[in-house]
């Protein structure tokens, strides 16, 4: 007996984390996933989720305590109804979808005089604010791969959140001027000994919420060669002195920072202090810093919003013009103060990720949730809009954590008869424009 299988290999861009690995290879057998090469467990899971049964399959509209299934056109019509009758809708999410969808979202928000915010506001929003304060000395990841002899991870653990970061771009990568990791040194700075910390040449433990002080102390040591008189008690000074020595010896250094800096203590001041330190270090040698962005296209959301409106997130169109003021136009502030009467979530799960005190305020609000997967938000929604998984079942453009644009590819044809985020939003935009 002869078995004929129809196998092809397709190249994929992993739509999971900010590493946006574009070397993933998926082998398809008769259109189904047979194997996945080069992806980490997270990427593998995401690509495999195309075949999972845990998906949003139907367009649903709430009716009493139940949700009833409707056609796509009815769902679009009802979505347009709710959006148009809202006083100040907020359109939130956008980090797990394509730039094409993000652009449409901004146009919808503009027409509705609503707010467009993305998940940046609760992850690296403070870094964007600090960039506007003082600017960021940065580079693409290839610069690190080819040149960096000292790599610092601050408040981020790539082994858990960006599993291929080491191998592809940093500590374990091979580059033109640094051919292997014996020639690189790594420092990890964190509040606890993470898995990455165990691999580091030097691990520096800091007390929670003290990063600002630690950065300032390090800055002082580098500038004056000795610690300031009033020493920070939150860190071992000898550790910092040793780190300063390694830092000064480096030819090309990089600081990768994560939520451990953006989400703690003084928020954007941490980043302001970090950028200031990096500027200082450029007097001695070359130093850059790169944010460890979480979702695969959160960087794209910031880029698209910046060129469309001038602002990277939290764009409020209620006066007809884009207005931006994090702390006022950001999702948690708007929801907490009951400023919005409708929440439309696209490719995100605000109810599952925002602070409890904020989530409790959404009770009674109209909610529209567009997502391939069930989440606490789709659960609570008045309208559920299922979509194809961007980057697996449909394509588009995304931006890596360092701002490099990379095409997303449809890996396989979905067994589900659904639209992409982009197609669905286009219908909604058309419907709204027409009704206006």
């Amino acid at each position: 007996m002869k078995i004929i299988v129809n196998r092809i290999i397709v190249k994929a861009t992993c739509p999971y984390c900010g590493c946006l690995c574009d070397d993933v290879e998926v082998t398809l057998e008769d259109g189904e996933i047979y194997s996945i090469k080069n992806a980490c467990p997270l990427g593998r899971m995401k690509i495999n989720s195309a075949t999972s049964n845990v998906r949003n399959l139907k367009y649903l509209i709430k009716s009493g305590n139940d949700k009833i299934e409707v056609t796509v056109d009815e769902a679009v019509e009802e979505t347009a109804n709710l959006l148009l009758s809202a006083d100040k809708p907020i359109l939130y999410g956008w980090s797990n979808t394509s730039c094409e969808a993000q652009r449409l979202g901004l146009k919808i928000a503009k027409i509705l005089r609503g707010v467009w915010d993305n998940t940046t506001s609760v992850c690296h929003g403070t870094a964007a604010i600090a960039t506007a304060e003082s600017g960021i000395p940065s580079a693409t990841l290839g610069e690190v791969k080819n040149r960096a002899d000292l790599i610092i991870y601050w408040g981020s653990n790539p082994l858990e959140a960006h599993p291929r970061h080491f191998k592809r771009y940093s500590y374990y990568s091979k580059g033109r001027f640094v051919s292997n990791n014996a020639r690189r040194k790594m420092i990890v700075i964190d509040v606890r000994e993470t898995s990455a910390a165990r691999l580091a040449d030097k691990f520096i433990q800091v007390k929670p919420n003290s990063d600002y002080k630690v950065i300032s102390t390090l800055h002082h040591i580098i500038k004056f060669g000795e610690p300031p008189e009033r020493k920070a008690a939150e860190v071992n000074i000898n550790d910092l002195m040793e780190a300063a020595k390694l830092i000064k010896e480096a030819k090309f250094g990089v600081v990768f920072f994560g939520l451990g800096l953006t989400m703690t203590g003084y928020g954007y001041c941490n980043l302001d202090a970090l950028y200031s330190l990096i500027r200082e270090l450029n007097r001695f040698s070359k130093w850059v810093t790169i944010p460890m962005r979480g979702h695969y296209n959160v960087t794209g959301a910031n880029i698209v919003a910046s060129y469309m409106t001038g602002f990277p997130f939290a764009v409020d169109f209620s006066t007809g013009k884009p207005y931006y003021n994090p702390g006022e136009t950001t999702i948690i502030d708007l929801l907490y103060h009951n400023e919005c009467d409708l929440l439309m979530s696209v490719a995100a799960d605000p109810l599952g990720t925002l602070p409890g005190e904020v989530v409790s305020k959404t009770i009674g609000m109209k909610i529209i949730a567009q997502d391939p997967f069930p989440t606490p938000t789709t659960e609570a929604a008045d309208i559920v809009l299922p979509t194809l998984i961007c980057g697996v079942e449909t394509g588009g453009t995304a931006y890596r954590m360092d701002g490099v644009p990379i095409p997303l590819k449809p890996i396989l044809k979905s067994r589900l008869n659904l639209l992409s985020d982009e197609e669905l939003l286009k219908k909604i935009l058309e419907r709204i424009s027409w009704r206006r």
Binding site: K110, T131, A132, A139, N146, Y169, F252, T309
Partner: protein, 544 residues
């Protein structure tokens, strides 16, 4: 006299019925303007937006018009950019600094710019592949690679920004002399300038190599500038519309004497003299406007210096294996000695170079100022008294050492048409797009500049007002703008060059760099035609 347009071109007789008639009596009718150097789209423009939320509040547009969004002074959003250019009477614009790795980003923004035809220039002055090929003397392969990378990024021409210095800046160093060796590459900036100018000629690109000189912005750099231009003297002229072998971008920033900020002075006479006595050089002004702006360039080392000078905000963003870049906000002040001289240098160059066909008016938007200031530059060029009024207000020490007051030349209206339309179109190799002639692309701007019987330069206020807002902008035969109000949606074409050369040697070369040094796959580096707004390749697509 009637000008007839049908199907997007000028015609002798109209065949269709009921044509639209515009009465342009006593108005000035010009071909659509061409801006050959303006940073309006792409990665660093967006980083500039990110750096300066305060700047976007200076200009808002389209508050109530549907889904169009317009903000930004130095970095207007794409829709606003197209709108402002169209209002100014322009038809074609060139984004002059695209890092190949981020070309997709530039196209993404350019797709959103309505009304304009677009071109872009590719940053190749610090490319590893190019520097390696020059060092290895594989010059035939270099030609093939340049064609390939232009094709891959869907860009139009070659841009060199402080060649070699970007690579040095990647280590935090800089190169101050064009005969200095580039770290790790055993070649010099001069080698890059010479070889790429030669390749450019060989492969028949439509525009010369555009050069941002080494030492840009620094006192005494005029000598580097002249040395760089001399490097390519013996290459002869190019075939085709644009004979020049090299285009000196924003020459103002490269024409300084002195050896410190204290002794800083104008080098315009020397640079203008060189350009007057040689036929292989074209240039654009890079005129500064006294105002606040956001400077952005691939010259990372210079931006770091500027940041150290201002002590303000600074973004650096180097792109692997290709280029550096930096962004710094800056205010050009009348009372600042250096700024006042910079202002004079731009105008001196425009007035001292005799042949208007060699130059184009630019501000190096947004580096010297924003492009909406072009009418003011025209007024300065056309009216000596108007210049004097500005000179009165500048730094008094500068006032006494500049030569501008001694220059009597005033541009005629005809000459201003050359430096804003015909010359830049010719330099870019798109002459037909800026010519009123039968069969040519119908791009027109109609202005009300006052009584055409009188000298239009006489009343600079009226001139500036008139030029700032065209009564009509007609693009490819369609009225797209009327008195500053968009009439209909229209997207222009995107010109690009380059082609795929079926060569194993080339594939091997490119594959090697992607495997070893880049962090993306080759297939994702290539911008597909579908990602570009109305792509038009001006060269053959495939070479054998």
């Amino acid at each position: 006299m009637d000008i007839l347009i049908e199907n997007g071109v000028f015609v002798e007789r109209i065949k269709g019925r009921d044509p639209i008639v515009i009465n342009a009596e006593r108005k000035v009718i010009l071909p659509g303007g061409v801006d050959l150097h303006s940073h309006f789209a792409g990665s660093k423009v967006t980083l500039g937006r990110l750096l300066r939320p305060e700047e976007h509040r200076l200009r808002h547009q389209f508050g109530n018009s549907g889904n169009h969004i317009g903000t930004g002074w130095a970095t207007p959003t794409p829709f606003l950019c197209g709108y402002l250019y169209s209002k100014l009477g322009y038809a074609k614009i060139v984004e002059p600094a695209v890092p190949p790795l981020k070309a997709r980003h530039t196209h993404e923004e350019m797709r959103g710019i309505p009304y304009m035809d677009k071109m872009s220039l590719l940053l190749l002055g610090n490319s590893w592949i190019i520097m390696d090929l020059i060092a290895q003397k594989r010059l035939k392969l270099l030609e093939k690679y340049v064609l390939w990378v232009l094709w891959a990024s869907k860009t139009y021409g070659i841009k060199l920004v402080a060649p070699g210095s970007g690579e040095a800046w990647a280590w935090g160093k800089s190169i101050t002399h064009i005969d200095d060796e580039i770290p790790n590459f055993s070649i010099t900036p001069k080698d890059i300038i010479y070889n790429l100018a030669r390749v450019n000629k060989e492969i028949g690109l439509k525009t010369p190599v555009h050069l941002h000189t080494n030492n840009l912005g620094s006192p005494g750099n005029y000598q580097t500038t002249i040395d760089s231009l001399k490097t390519v003297e013996n290459l002869g002229l190019r075939d085709g519309d644009s004979p020049f072998i090299i285009h000196l971008v924003h020459a103002q920033f490269s024409s300084y004497k002195g050896d410190s900020w204290k002794t800083f002075s104008s080098g315009s006479e020397e640079v203008a003299a060189y350009i007057n006595s040689n036929s292989h050089v074209s240039f654009d002004l890079g005129q500064i406007i006294f105002s606040n702006t956001t400077t952005m360039t691939a010259d990372g080392a210079w931006q770091y210096n500027l940041y150290r000078l201002t002590g303000g905000k600074w973004i650096n963003n180097d792109v692997e294996n290709e280029t550096a870049s930096g962004i710094v906000p800056y205010t050009f002040k009348r009372k600042n000695y250096v700024n006042a001289i910079q202002w004079a240098v731009g105008l001196e160059l425009a007035l001292l170079v005799k042949d208007p066909w060699k130059l184009a008016v630019t501000t190096d938007h947004p580096n010297g100022g924003v492009f909406t200031s072009y009418p003011v530059i025209i007024a300065w060029l056309m009216n000596k008294k108007f210049r004097e009024r500005t000179i009165e207000k500048i730094n008094s020490k500068a006032k006494h050492i500049i030569i501008l007051p001694s220059i009597d030349r005033e541009y005629t209206l005809f000459e201003t048409v050359i430096v804003t339309r015909s010359a830049p179109a010719r330099i870019m190799g798109v002459k037909d797009g800026a010519t009123i002639g039968i069969g040519k692309e119908a791009n027109l701007a109609i202005y009300d500049l006052g009584d055409p019987e009188r000298d239009l330069g006489e009343n600079p206020v009226k001139l500036i007002k008139g030029l700032s807002s065209a009564n009509y902008n007609i693009k490819n035969g369609l009225i797209v703008m009327k008195n500053g109000v968009p009439v209909q949606d229209f997207n222009g074409v995107t010109y690009y060059s380059g082609g795929v050369n079926e060569s194993e040697e080339l594939t091997e070369l490119v594959d090697y760099y992607f495997k070893e040094y880049y962090t993306v796959e080759k297939e994702n580096y290539i911008v597909q035609k579908g990602e570009v707004m109305h792509p038009v390749n001006v060269l053959e697509e495939v070479f054998k």
